[in-house]
Symmetry: C2
């Protein structure tokens, strides 16, 4: 009698060593004992992927992306074989598959491939024969049989896509934290685990620096309405459900607070106030592959204006180079780079329909004498750029202001 | 203009680290510069395979063979990706393939699969488009898309089989020695590199302990008459050609001398001299997977006889257990285990047609006061079991006796 199908995904830290692999096997077998069908998606062991990247870079500082995928996909292949062996050891049937074997068909954008479709035949056959199915996360295959990888957080995507294709009853993402918190508990010890959060809020939190899940897999989950349960592989506590609409006892204005200290601010001074100049700056940066986060254009005065934007720290070098170049080309003044910033953000679907949330945020910061350098808003979030040293104070102040500890 | 196709195989020690991978890339590119088409077969980096086996054994002492193949095949996949990157770095086009991608179709005998056929289409397409083709050795795929491995020495087999299927002009096996020597140069400094050796002689030497190439790939090379060039990846010296019939200026009686100190001798004493008893002993051992090397039955006396045989050291424990069991069952006397033995052998197609070779061998040993405990002969080899401590002396005595240093 079929009791339901669960797709589980275990991240690298959950399978970082032999003992942890054995623990994952025990957990999987526990579900099996309850009569559930299981598809288990696994990432590479611990730091394997980073080690392989380092090895490749020793050989070629700009390695072919096809060969990079060939190399990196071995990490997950090792994990699935070892997990299958660990499950066998416990006396249960299990079979591992690579992305190629499972038939995760992708486009040929190596290192960041997009899933086109999944042939579930092999998985379904194995499930029907009573086996626990173990699938290598993060990887797929093109129609030409080239191995691809799905980019950062790709294993989450594998799990969500399989859950959708197989019509799974639930999709569990196991990680090294208990779930999604109202903010980082290392910054605010009063942070609380969120029971339910909407796809949109989770997307916003992911893009603002919460590192539990990548935005891409949440987007897919949202698109196909796949409920996700984010929880710890080290205990049995319930984690956080990511769902379409959270059923809350009362309206919550703000669900979580994020802090991102990995951004750098650039200000292009004295930009000629002509139409098309801003477009030219950002088109140029984009053509060189620099991703810009926040953009703020200050009030113009005397036909000139200042444009500020932020980029990730790891893109700062390239951003500086191309920004200076384009600034010269359009006849702007100097380019100021500011590393001493933090972005603090509040996220919540509730703020859509409630005025005064922004004001409350600014008041809380002002009360703590924190100066706001840039402000940016979306439908369900407000972000402020402040001095880096105030980051943690700001998080705690906002956590208190919006009563997240209650 | 096509100048010819070369299949090259590089063993684990040739790609043990970044610098060696770069050296292999330089060598490959050197051939390419001369206008040759290249298919390069690579083993796993250094000790990768042993490390993966150790990891698996920590998790499951008798891992599933299918999952073992899934695990071990990652070793070669890492190698091919890194070698492709190293060749790209030198400005040449290269593409790597797994056994699955190349279409090395095998049966489903995991960990020791046999090649059924090779679909050369992908390799030929890549060659036609001017690329250096890099193929993961040691691995194949079943018709059910399960990954298989070909067993010890499997990468040699991949190279030989590809050379045959592609009609390559030559098949070069790169290793950490200069070629095949008349005997181990660490034992006899006067040992000489053999210029040409026949498949049969090489097969005999491989089975008698010469470790340069496994018997299986030589068998395939012999079957399809693929000439093999065994040479070093650390220099440009010509190595040894393994061919059908060596063209020698004069007849050579003995081509090489091997020494194997990894055998253990068992003697079953007082075996009832009835027909079928010997058969029963060896059928029993065989059914428990113990491979017996030499067998000698001594002259019978008073309806009883002694039977001696040797096995590899790593099978000695199991051999002892089952031999004692079967000895009891057939009413034999005690079983004596002797670890203090060495097998010294002379190999040469010339001895087929020449009497007196055995006598010359025994004389040389006698002259050095080396007692012979067992003798076994084949068409092109003679082996003697002697006390272990005399192994090196015997090799040097025989090397001199048959003038191999000249």
């Amino acid at each position: 009698m079929r009791k339901g199908l669960v797709v589980q995904k275990y991240g690298g830290s959950s399978v970082a060593n032999v003992q942890r692999i054995q623990n994952v096997a025990k957990r999987v077998v526990g579900y099996r004992r309850r009569g559930l069908d299981l598809v288990v998606v696994v990432s590479a062991l611990g730091d394997t992927t980073d080690e392989l990247i380092a090895l490749a870079n020793q050989i070629n500082s700009s390695p072919s992306e096809r060969e990079m995928d060939m190399l990196l996909s071995t990490g997950e292949q090792i994990s699935v074989a070892l997990l299958a062996m660990a499950i066998h050891k416990l006396g249960f049937e299990a079979i591992s598959f690579t992305g190629t074997q499972v038939g995760i068909l992708t486009d040929s954008s190596h290192t960041r491939a997009r899933i086109i479709k999944i042939n579930t035949q092999k998985v379904l056959e194995a499930l029907r024969s009573g086996k626990i199915v173990i699938v290598a996360g993060f990887q797929g295959v093109t129609s030409e049989w080239d191995i691809t990888t799905l980019g950062r957080g790709g294993s989450d995507l594998t799990a969500v896509a399989l859950a959708k294709e197989l019509g799974a009853d639930s999709c569990e993402i196991y990680t090294d934290v208990d779930g999604i918190y109202t903010t980082d508990p290392r910054i605010e010890p009063k942070a609380k685990k969120i029971k339910e959060i909407t796809y949109d809020e989770m997307l916003e939190m992911a893009s603002l620096g919460a590192q539990v899940m990548q935005a891409r897999s949440i987007e897919v989950a949202k698109k196909f309405n796949v409920p996700i349960h984010v929880r710890s592989s080290f205990n049995n506590n319930p984690g956080t459900m990511i769902i379409k609409e959270a059923e809350r006892m009362e309206d919550v204005l703000v669900s979580g607070i994020t802090l991102n200290k990995n951004e750098v601010k650039f200000t292009v001074c004295d930009v000629p106030d002509r139409s098309g100049v801003a477009a030219r700056i950002f088109r140029e940066l984009s053509s060189f592959g620099v991703n810009v986060d926040m953009i703020v254009q200050n009030v113009s005065h005397i036909r000139q204006t200042d444009i500020s934007f932020t980029v990730s720290r790891n893109e700062a070098l390239r951003a500086a180079k191309f920004t200076k170049k384009v600034a010269r080309n359009v006849g702007s003044g100097e380019v100021i780079e500011d590393n001493d910033i933090a972005r603090v953000s509040i996220v919540g679907v509730g703020m859509k329909s409630h005025a005064g949330v922004a004001a409350a945020m600014f008041e809380a910061l002002a009360k703590n004498k924190i100066n706001i350098e840039m402000i940016s808003t979306s439908d369900i979030s407000i972000s402020c750029i402040i001095k880096k040293k105030f980051g943690e104070i700001a998080v705690r102040a906002l956590h208190g202001k919006f009563n997240l500890a209650k």
